[in-house]
């Protein structure tokens, strides 16, 4: 059967659909210019579990659960569930870790960078420029033989583990419902102010997440891949999805009166241009070395890729460190700890890129 979602128009329609849903999620209660942010939402989930205690960013985001389970369903339905693992797990963990550090210095994953732009946040331009530079550096490594090696087929049950974890988190959320004005419900933490307190109703977040997970698995939507393929192969396939994602969110923001152009005072953003840029250089490089943006890593996890799941676990750990060690930026700007971690992350990613190369035949 031909996969219509992976065609030229398929990716454009899926990208546009996700853009519309992202703007709507914001309209339904998610934070401004953050209808969907994979990095921010993974960070919020980390906080909801008490793995960091930044009280303004704690909420177990059902969208993330939906992304993985939607992809899982699509993979099964279309016989693409491929349990596999064993391609440099610790390296992928570290890449996930530092990608989160970079994203939290900028304050957003690539999806949110595009959504911030679509909402009028000029600072996103610096982030996107940084993302492009980070990905470009990554493509230089790819051209010179960088390769984390092959994964191997593994047991079906192994491919179920990550989706099962997501299902367990959903059950925990349902068993510990949020009580208005209470920062804790059973084992979970809930922000009562700040971005973590802003969210669409649970069922809407979950259903939209499942839908996006399903469509993204079918279409292979990936923001990093979009820029990488453009730079590396001069291919516009995934990039057309990225463009329609941004355009759709922009139009929806205009319709919903969510478009506010400017640099200063943008929601959950800061104006330190250098660190907005550099944060996304690190994130873009880490995504490229790991083969996918955070969203794509979730979708791959859903289709049985244990290495992508390890990347996500690395992101969780990165988020915990980012907030426990004061590395994440805030509206006030980047922190000195964040800048130090960013530089360490860049050095580590460059070392990974230089040292993990197969000899290229001339």
């Amino acid at each position: 059967m031909k996969n219509v979602f992976a065609t030229k128009w398929g990716i454009v329609i899926v990208g546009g659909g996700i853009g519309v849903l992202a703007a709507l999620l914001q309209f339904w209660g998610n934070p401004a210019n953050m209808g969907i942010c994979v990095a921010c939402f993974v960070r919020d989930m980390t906080g909801a579990l008490g793995l960091h205690r930044a009280s303004v960013v704690q909420y177990l985001r059902p969208e993330i659960v939906g992304f993985v389970l939607g992809s899982f369903a699509a993979a099964y339905l279309f016989k693409e569930f491929r349990p596999r693992s064993g391609s440099a797990p610790v390296t992928r963990f570290i890449l996930g870790f530092f990608s989160m550090i970079g994203a939290l210095v900028f304050l957003g994953c690539p999806w949110r960078a595009l959504l911030r732009l679509a909402g009028g946040d000029g600072n996103a331009l610096l982030g996107l420029l940084g993302l492009g530079v980070g990905i470009w550096i990554g493509t230089l490594f790819l051209k010179n033989g960088y390769n984390l090696g092959a994964s191997r087929k593994t047991y079906t049950a192994a491919g179920w583990i990550f989706p099962a974890i997501m299902l367990a988190l959903l059950v925990i959320l349902l068993l510990n419902p949020q009580a208005t004005g209470d920062p804790q419900s059973g084992v979970l933490y809930f922000s009562i102010e700040g971005p973590g307190s802003m969210h669409a109703p649970l069922i809407i977040s979950l259903v939209v997440g499942l839908g996006i997970g399903f469509l993204a698995q079918r279409s292979r939507f990936c923001t990093m891949g979009a820029m990488r393929d453009l730079i590396l192969f001069k291919q516009v396939h995934l990039f057309s999805g990225l463009l329609s994602f941004t355009a759709a969110a922009f139009v929806m923001n205009l319709l919903l009166k969510q478009f506010n152009p400017g640099f200063a005072g943008q929601p959950v953003a800061h104006t330190m241009h250098l660190w907005n840029f550099a944060g996304m250089v690190l994130a873009g490089l880490a995504f490229t070395l790991a083969g996918g943006c955070p969203g794509r890593q979730l979708f791959l996890s859903g289709e049985g890729d244990g290495d992508a799941a390890i990347f996500v676990v690395g992101m969780v750990m990165g988020a915990a460190f980012a907030h426990n060690f004061g590395l994440a930026s805030s509206a006030a700007g980047a922190t000195s700890g964040g800048i130090t971690a960013l530089i360490i992350g860049l050095v580590v990613c460059l070392l990974i890129g230089f040292t993990m190369r197969e000899k290229v035949q001339a």
Binding site: F78, K143, S151, D229, F233, Q235
Partner: protein, 73 residues
């Protein structure tokens, strides 16, 4: 001699890079590419097509794909 690219187990974009490297070596002929995900299959077909190579044969062997692409000068 059969030109073979074994990209099984490798994730995006390695299968495409390996295929394009092989295409660079060959002005024409046939290349056999072994793949194990639908995503890789789509990506490799798209990349090969953009270089003027056509799908000659495609067979599913258990969970793997054996793709043959060709180009005549």
């Amino acid at each position: 001699m059969e030109q073979l690219v074994d990209a099984r187990g490798l994730s995006c974009p390695q299968p495409v890079i390996m295929t394009l490297n092989k295409i660079k070596e060959l002005p024409e002929g046939e290349i056999v590419i072994l793949l194990d995900t639908d995503t890789s299959l789509e990506n490799v077909k798209r990349a090969a097509g953009s270089k003027g190579w056509k799908v000659v044969d495609l067979q599913a062997e258990s969970e793997d794909y054996r793709l043959v692409i060709g180009k005549q000068a």
